[in-house]
């Protein structure tokens, strides 16, 4: 069944590809004035013409169609590319599809081996239960807040640091650069224990500030990457613009706000979005620094404690019957906000990586 659909999609893509190519060629020929209608009018004539084509088909023509001039412009190559892309793409989204299908299955559907992808009925009870256990909307609100704040702060701070590194000459710059790279390479798990002790003595444990403070000081989740992105971006601003502004009397801070920021809007958007996603998916340090509160502040952590939270809400018989339908419904509810953000803003994500300049050097 699934294989059949995949083959159908591949065939569809191949046909579409050929049709579009044909249309393009036709358009070009019309533009050059070399176009002439090859297919005659009328159904019978068309069939006749088809047989005429088949009769005159030579091996060379077929070969040219299948292999093309260099192999990678032929039809066989197209088949290969689309087959690989569609089947790997299927494997790639398989967990999401599985999640989606299973979360709508009732207990009977899950056990029934005949029900593969489409549940027998629209069963929403899994979502109701998952929603209750996760305390979805209140937790979502707090979770968003604790993600949004560090992401915004980190973006602003990193832009500042990146500008300083890109635009001014000073001693020891190489050293700071090396250290910034090192903060990316040394896993923060290596030095988290003294950090924990320090936050404890500063009364920052179980306090959202434990997540926000590192962001303020440019030591947040993957801050080093964002600093480098801003550095690359600000370095591309031509010196002449800055110099002109300087002659007009704009100081360095004014230049940053009036020239740097407006020209680096894409870097801001990319950094913010990635910061948002990475903070949303960060669980190790949130659960360490926020301790007991982490469950209430982060949806992700609530998912990790799903079974115990479930048993505090439902009877023990009910808990024993907890199944993958409910758990995957909860998982889907958690990735849903990010999925929505991603599908609306996906160009900013994918093109952001390409424009980040990491590949340029």
């Amino acid at each position: 069944m699934t294989t059949f659909i995949i083959i159908l999609i591949i065939v569809f893509l191949l046909v579409l590809d050929q049709v579009i190519q044909h249309e393009k060629r036709k358009k070009n020929q019309i533009k050059n004035g070399t176009y002439k209608e090859t297919w005659p009018k009328g159904f019978i004539n068309r069939i006749k013409y088809f047989f005429h084509l088949v009769k005159n088909l030579t091996w060379i023509k077929v070969k040219k169609f299948l292999i093309g001039r260099k192999f990678n412009d032929g039809f066989l190559f197209k088949i290969m590319v689309y087959t690989l892309l569609v089947s790997i793409g299927y494997v790639y989204v398989y967990p999401v599809l599985y999640m989606l299908s299973t979360s709508f299955k009732s207990r009977e559907d899950i056990i029934n081996p005949m029900v593969m992808w489409v549940p027998t009925s629209l069963y929403l009870d899994n979502y109701v239960k998952a929603y209750n256990v996760l305390k979805y909307f209140p937790t979502l609100f707090k979770s968003t807040l604790i993600t949004l704040l560090p992401a915004v702060i980190q973006t602003i701070v990193c832009s500042f640091i990146g500008y300083g590194l890109a635009k001014f000459r000073f001693k020891l710059k190489k050293l700071w650069f090396t250290l910034i790279l090192l903060t990316f390479l040394i896993p923060s798990q290596v030095y988290m224990i003294p950090k924990y002790v320090m936050f404890n003595s500063l009364n920052l444990l179980n306090n959202p500030m434990a997540v926000i403070l590192p962001a303020i000081l440019g030591q947040g989740v993957n801050s080093a990457i964002f600093i480098l992105i801003f550095y690359q971006f600000f370095r591309m601003i031509p010196k002449s613009i800055e110099e002109a502004a300087e002659i007009d009397g704009a100081g360095p801070y004014k230049r940053f706000f009036l020239i740097g920021i407006p020209l680096a809007v894409p870097a801001f958007i990319t950094s913010f979005l990635f910061g948002f996603v990475w903070y949303w998916n960060e669980t190790y340090f949130i659960s360490l620094f926020l301790g007991d509160k982490a469950k209430d502040l982060s949806l992700q952590i609530r998912l990790a404690y799903f079974v115990s939270e479930y048993s505090s809400l439902y009877s023990s018989e009910e808990t024993a019957l907890i199944n993958e339908g409910i758990r995957l419904a909860a998982t889907l509810l958690i990735i849903l906000p990010m999925l929505i953000v991603y599908f609306i803003l996906q160009r900013w994500f994918t093109e952001g990586v390409e424009r980040s300049g990491i590949t340029g050097e």
Binding site: V190, L213, Y284, Q300
Partner: protein, 288 residues
Amino acid sequence: MKMKNSVREAIVGYSFIIIWIIGFIFLTAYPIIMSIIYSVNDVTIAGTGIKMQFSGLANYGVIFSSAGSDYLTALKEFLGQVILRVPIILVFSIIIALLLNQKIRFRGFFRTIFFLPVIISSGPVISELVSQGAAGENMMSSLTFLDSLQNTLNPVIADPIVTLFEEIIIVFWFSGVQVLLFLSALQKINKEIYEAAAIDGAGPWESFWKITLPSMKNIVFVNAIYTLVLLATYSENGVVTAIKNNMFSITTGYGVASAMAWAYFIVLALLLLIIVLLFRPGRESDKG
């Protein structure tokens, strides 16, 4: 006057990055030094605060005793995973990038799909997917060779391979960023080089090995390091969870956990060194 200008510029420059330097000193450098100190001390938590008693390398010794067995097995498992997964992720993302670089319809759509996991893969979500059998176990269960592999080979070698296949989708899921980086590197290669090579009689196969791969050398290096860091800091990684567990364990505590963290770092540094030696971009390699 000129001297004064450069001093002023330095002051302004430092005013921009001072916040990072402060953060680095307090939130990175100081904890790093302290955690080295913890790792060679017997750390106990008293009512007044932390008490330390120098104990040499005893904490590192604990790793090899029974108290550290969880950590040690996790570390071995991690090593096996890295050795298998880094090359697989690299090769996989090059293939995907090459496919996406062809003239195809719905390129944006496919790119969206291959980047999707970056958005949704957090530790709890992935562990939920793996435990609920959405990570490809069903797809791979038909491969009977896994059973025979498990039965014949030494478990040290067989286990990473079997888990690799059971979680193959999740392994692929770690390659979202790498695919895009490879893709943008591919698009920067000058098309004329391929045309010149084609005139000289090079087919697509030769072009790939002689043009494409050498010009992506730098980005292979970047991606190899990125993949290693990604796998090392992944929150459900057995080693980092073992460190966290030992931190709050009565038998081990902060000292031993710090020693474990540093032992982990040494292993990572060695892996990093291997990557540098294997993929180090040449100095004279053409840039841009």
